[in-house]
């Protein structure tokens, strides 16, 4: 008795949803058209020198009532944006993911690259105390506490913190466990913020960032105020309020309705609907997120490099970007970090070649191959991309069975299990990608790429002082991955933020989580 009724109810649901959505789109499109011209004109007239004052409200997807302002516990984009407003790191990443000095004025290694001297700039915490070498050591030791579970702990692993010391108030000497040419990447690591010595409570956080603490309600709002004494110059805005709106439709509505002036993380479809209509400004941050599949290189069928090469040739990257990312991105070349420092841009772009793929599979004795592709709605476009790849593979005679898993536990589920899975990564330096995911001892080695010669190349690069020679070593590692690695990287998604027309100063080139992303101290209201 129940099933026919629920069947009908579902049909009603689908129909109503479709109608409502279509109506909503039509309505918003209509209303945007009315005001489009005026807003454009306003834009042109007011773009000029920064103006002081005003409050900006920024909407982010959030972490709910469990949120904390402990910058070392940062996990989400909103955590990173809030931490950036209140705190500083020693360094941060530029648009090409090379480290840029922040609280550290400069850094210099010794001859063997295993001791680094970091000199701090003159900066002060919000309560007036200067930022000293002791604060830096305290912060890093807190993150690296053996009993602690902070995310940046893995990045700080190369440092022997017990041996680190303050040479004077503004100089820290870091002893490393091994030579590490890319050590400044550690100073810029996600969550490696500097807090005042002996801080244990973050109810009323004191940092050295561009804004001071106002008020905080977990899962709802954080208000921060201009820090006039900021070392890099005071922000233009008087105040920023971070509000949490986890539904994308709510963030868009709030932006369109004037309740917020900055909305983080919009879908490509939403962006297209509102782009160029004058009601909102859409900013696409390129290269923010890599999209791909992982093949486990230690088990059949992917333990045969020919099968991996065949899969590289099966993917029609343009179709994947257009279908799974609604065109908001660019095609990948099976290597991480397009546009970043050390990326080998000279390698030929891989394109689909079904004949060659079939031949390779035949050579490997893997005709009529069947693989299970693990995916989950853990990131935008995952399930869609899996469906598209399934069809592309069928054309090469490979049967892909898509298995949709649980999004909350997805990353752990695919780390050691399965053979083929959807994958995504935010921005990080190519060095971090390699050390975290591609070395024999890497903690999140999802492709199970464990190659002694590759590890050696990496260690060699880290003990090479000359940057040119190092770049050559990185290129060798990446060529190796391009030829027979386990990452099938088909695209790079844009990260989409939108602002009210009056907001100025949003950097359109900074990938998410780099220095100029979510830099509210650089924004102003026209």
């Amino acid at each position: 008795m129940n099933s026919p009724r629920s069947g009908l109810a579902r049909r009603g649901f689908l129909l109503a949803t479709a109608t409502a959505t279509a109506a909503a789109l039509a309505l918003t499109a209509g209303c945007a058209g009315d005001t489009g011209k005026n807003a454009d004109a306003k834009n042109g007239a007011a773009a000029g020198s920064p103006q002081r004052g005003g409050t900006l409200r920024a909407a982010f997807p959030g972490g709910g009532a469990g949120e904390t302002l402990d910058p070392h516990a940062a996990n989400l984009f909103v955590d990173a944006a809030r931490a950036k407003a209140l705190y500083d790191k020693l360094a941060d990443f530029g648009a090409d993911l090379a480290p840029v000095p922040r609280l550290a004025e400069r850094w210099e290694p010794n001859e063997t690259l295993d001791t680094w001297k970091v000199t701090l700039r003159k900066a002060a915490f919000h309560d007036g105390r200067p930022v000293t070498a002791e604060d830096v050591l305290y912060s890093y030791r807190r993150i690296a506490d053996p009993k602690g579970t902070f995310r940046a702990k893995a990045s700080l692993e190369p440092i022997d913190l017990a041996a680190g010391r303050a040479l004077d108030a503004s100089t820290v000497e870091f002893k490393l466990k091994r030579p590490y040419a890319e050590f400044p990447n550690v100073l810029a690591a996600f969550g490696a913020y500097i807090v005042p010595k002996d801080t244990t409570s973050f109810d009323k956080p004191v940092g050295s960032g561009p804004f001071t603490f106002g008020s905080f309600t977990p899962g709802k709002s954080l208000v921060v105020k201009r820090n006039d004494a900021y070392w890099e110059g005071a922000p233009h805005l008087d105040q920023v309020e971070f509000v949490v709106a986890t539904e994308e439709s709510a963030r868009v509505s709030a932006l369109l309705g004037g309740q917020v002036q900055y909305a983080h993380e919009l879908s490509p479809a939403t962006a297209r609907t509102h782009e160029g209509k004058g009601q909102v400004q859409v900013v696409r941050l390129p290269g923010s997120s890599m999209q791909g599949f992982v093949m486990k290189t230690d088990r059949p069928p992917f333990n045969d490099p020919r099968v991996r090469q065949a899969f590289f040739l099966i993917a029609d990257r343009k179709e994947l970007v257009d279908g799974a990312l609604s065109g908001a991105g660019e095609v990948g070349n099976d290597l991480f970090g397009k546009g970043y420092q050390y990326y080998p841009a000279g390698l030929p772009q891989r394109t689909r070649d079904l004949d060659r793929a079939r031949a390779l599979l035949k050579e490997a004795g893997a005709e009529n191959l069947k693989v299970t592709l693990d995916t989950a709605p853990a990131a935008t476009g995952f399930v869609e991309a899996a469906g598209i790849f399934k069809e592309q593979a069928a054309k090469a005679g490979v049967t892909v069975e898509v298995k949709v898993g649980n999004k909350d536990t997805y990353w752990k589920d695919i780390l050691d299990n399965g053979t083929f899975a959807s994958y995504r990564s935010g921005s990080m330096p190519i060095e971090s990608h390699i050390s975290q995911r591609l070395l024999t001892g890497s903690t999140t080695n999802a492709t199970k790429w464990k190659q002694k010669d590759f590890d050696d190349l990496y260690q060699q690069a880290q003990s090479t002082r000359d940057e040119k020679e190092r770049a050559a070593l990185y290129e060798r590692m990446q060529r190796r991955l391009y030829d027979e690695g386990g990452f099938l990287i088909w695209g790079f998604a844009d990260w989409i933020v939108a602002t009210a027309p009056a907001v100025r100063g949003v950097d359109a080139k900074a990938p998410a989580n780099t220095l100029d992303w979510a830099r509210f101290d650089k924004l102003w209201l026209a």
Binding site: A16, A24, L27, T149, G257, Q259, N406, D408, T409
Partner: protein, 315 residues
Amino acid sequence: MSPHLSWVGRRLLLGLGQTAAVVLFVFALTEALPGDAAVALAGDQPDPERIARIRAALDLDRPAAERFLDWVAGLLHGDLGTSLVSGRPVSGYLAGGLGPTVLLASATLLVLLPLSAGLGVLCARREGGPLDRTLSALTLAVHSVPEFALGVLLATVFGLWLGWLPPTAVGADALTDPAVLVLPVLVLISRPVCTISRLVRAVMIEAMASPYVAQARRYGIGGARVRWAHALPNALAPAAQQLARTCDWLLSGVIVVEALFVIPGLGTVLIDAVAARDVPVVQGMAVVFGVVTVMANLGADLVARRFAPRAEVIA
């Protein structure tokens, strides 16, 4: 003890048992979910060592039964435990989420009850007329629209297109700015108003045709008084029970509406807690939702007894 009191006592005991069952069930279900708080916290950095450390730090390496008994012992002392994610007390989560949700629920009931009773009586009076038919068609149509779609539509039309109402409650305080509640309440009443008004209509028609109404008319009692004082109470008994039954539905509606309009209430807290596998918070929520549902049903049964005592044979 009077028979009435013992009936209430029995209902309360039953309710207590139901709540306990709900809590046990929720604990078992959360345990059965793949992954735990450590896995959810690790996110896309599922370093096995880090997960093990988090697990140890959160006491998740202890057996489930032990953790459950600890929690029950705490509950008996009025201690709901602490969140696995933030380490803050669960009672704080409940207190924080309760305000907006209670405000939303009271506003909804305040509009829902008179509106559905009034619509039902109106339709019953004009049975078969154009007004009755229009309202019937309308309620059926509205009832078939899912809350999510209706919410998006209303926010677009009244919030963005016409600009009459705030499209979300982002960053606003519902107490100082009650306008932000209008659209959420509209979405929340959309379905119950349909079911309850149709129910009231049906029972009213039946009651108006009953011998005792005819008798009341023969005594010369006025039409309005017959309708509101004699016939309507008959309809209120099943309506109250229907309302109690929609309580669980309203709770899930609250979840959708809170997400859609960014109201940081209990629904939002629950969703986040489930996603983070924050078991103590989920358990605390289960207790609250269980108690609310039991109390609502108890209240409905009491109302039904008051308005139509004959219904007791059913209870």
